[in-house]
Amino acid sequence: MLFGANGCGKSTLLRVLAGLRTPGSGRVTIDGAPPTTGENRARLGLVLQRSAIDPLLSVRETIDLHARLWSMETSTRRERVTAVIAELGLGERARDRLGTLSGGWQRRVELARCLVTDPSVILLDEPTTGLDGDARAGFWDAIHARVASQGTIVFIASHDPRDVREAGTLVTMARGAIDAEHNAARFAEEFLRHESLEGARLVWCDASFESIVTDSGEHAHRIGDRLFVVATASSLASLVDRLSEAGAEFRVGHATPEALLEAMV
């Protein structure tokens, strides 16, 4: 998972990987060939950050159109479209036009469209934006099921800490480059299971004060120019004192995903 604040370059990187944008430097290859070859394009599935849908087409028509762009045989195509509609629980809405569906349903259709061609690599750009709890859970269930059954590789770009719990590998981005690799499980535990950390607070400061934080025994997560720490009730006072003595500008907030999201932006 590529994680970082808005504007750090996550979407640009995904577009480069999808062959929709030429990199400023370097090159992208998939099995030695650029992503723009027909063979590599056929292996990629893509869900863009903004919904890319035609409101005048029905759910089935939208997925079918995508499969036809992959030049799938008619009988195979029909089977795949029907199967993916069932897989994503879209059966009851299959004949509805996309313009009449909520954002959550539209996002599900976009995932179905992505999955209908059985991609071996999936690129998801902020896939859960605008989804409520149930829709978000359903979305990730479908992704995990696909990874488990077919070994699909999934790249996810997100700025939402709640998505981190779905990640196997977590890297943060800043100013268009990979910034750091994190322990995804620990990140998720600290920032997402705040209910188990009674009295914990989120502290964030400039990344140049990393040694102050680590010397105080806290685990710091660097995201871009900032350092984020979840301090327990017992260690908070000590950390604040050390940062004050070092002349650091810092802020303290609730240790919630929402607060982290706000602090990142």
């Binding site: 929709l20 056929a42 903004r50 919904s51 035609d54 005048l56 995508h66 036809r68 762009l69 030049s71």
Partner: protein, 249 residues
């Protein structure tokens, strides 16, 4: 080989058009109204043999206006699809870059010529003189013109960032091209500078061939074979440039 992709895009365009009644009324209604007004009040001013000939002459002008409107709508639809990310979704597919362009052009050329056919048939019922062969040859001319003008519209739309930006091109190039097509006034009777502007206009080449299909004098010094060749060259060149332009992006 990539027929699936071409047909998929073409069918999506046709479905989208059918599901927008306002678009049908706008594309079809305006040229019919223009023709009714022109045929009713303007035809007597044209230096043609009789008013029936003038009305038939203006019928070709109305049919070309259908093609122009269809081209404008198609180009605006392209910009909207690009803003909505739908162009990126087709670019990310294994279909070659030219396939969606060909599909889109084919669909809108079909829609434009179907609508133009309706205008010609309805108008022909009023003024007569548009025979079956004339209709068939008129449709071929309008299909080639439609593909060319739409491909030009797509090329222009690729270079502007918004629909409002395209309005400038529409006002500056496409609408004047129709006004200067020689289908509203005979090129022969115009001033020299205006005559030159008409003669180099692909819509005028279409007008000359359209008039020939209805056995009417186009009022142009341009020979029919030159006009026909110019029209085919224009259509082919524009489609090729539009497909190549998308392939390079």
């Amino acid at each position: 080989m990539h027929a699936h992709a071409v047909i998929a895009i073409a069918s999506r365009e046709v479905l989208g058009w059918i599901r927008q009644p306002a678009r049908i009324v706008g594309t079809l209604g305006t040229p019919l109204l223009v023709w009714l007004f022109f045929a009713g009040g303007f035809s007597e001013m044209l230096p043609l043999d009789d008013s029936t000939s003038s009305k038939r002459w203006l019928l070709g002008s109305a049919a070309m206006l259908v093609v122009v409107f269809a081209s404008i709508f198609a180009s605006i639809g392209f910009i909207k699809d690009r803003e909505d990310g739908l162009i990126d979704m087709t670019r990310a597919s294994p279909a070659p870059a030219w396939a969606p362009i060909v599909g889109r052009l084919a669909a809108h050329a079909l829609l434009a010529t179907t609508q133009a056919l309706l205008v010609l048939v309805l108008g022909g019922l009023v003024v007569g003189g548009v025979g079956f062969l004339g209709l068939v040859s008129a449709l071929v001319v309008l299909a080639v013109l439609s593909a060319g003008v739409q491909a030009f519209g797509l090329l222009a739309a690729s270079r502007v960032s918004s629909v409002s930006g395209f309005h400038g091109i529409m006002n500056l190039v496409i609408a004047p091209a129709w006004l200067l097509s020689g289908s509203l006034f005979p090129a022969e009777s115009a001033d020299l500078w205006l005559r030159v502007a008409v003669l180099v206009n692909p819509l005028h080449w279409a007008h000359v061939v359209l008039c020939a299909s209805s056995s009417l004098d186009a009022g142009s010094p341009l020979p029919l074979p030159i006009a026909a060749l110019g029209l085919v060259a224009f259509g082919g060149a524009m489609v090729w440039l539009a497909a190549r332009e998308r392939s390079q992006r």
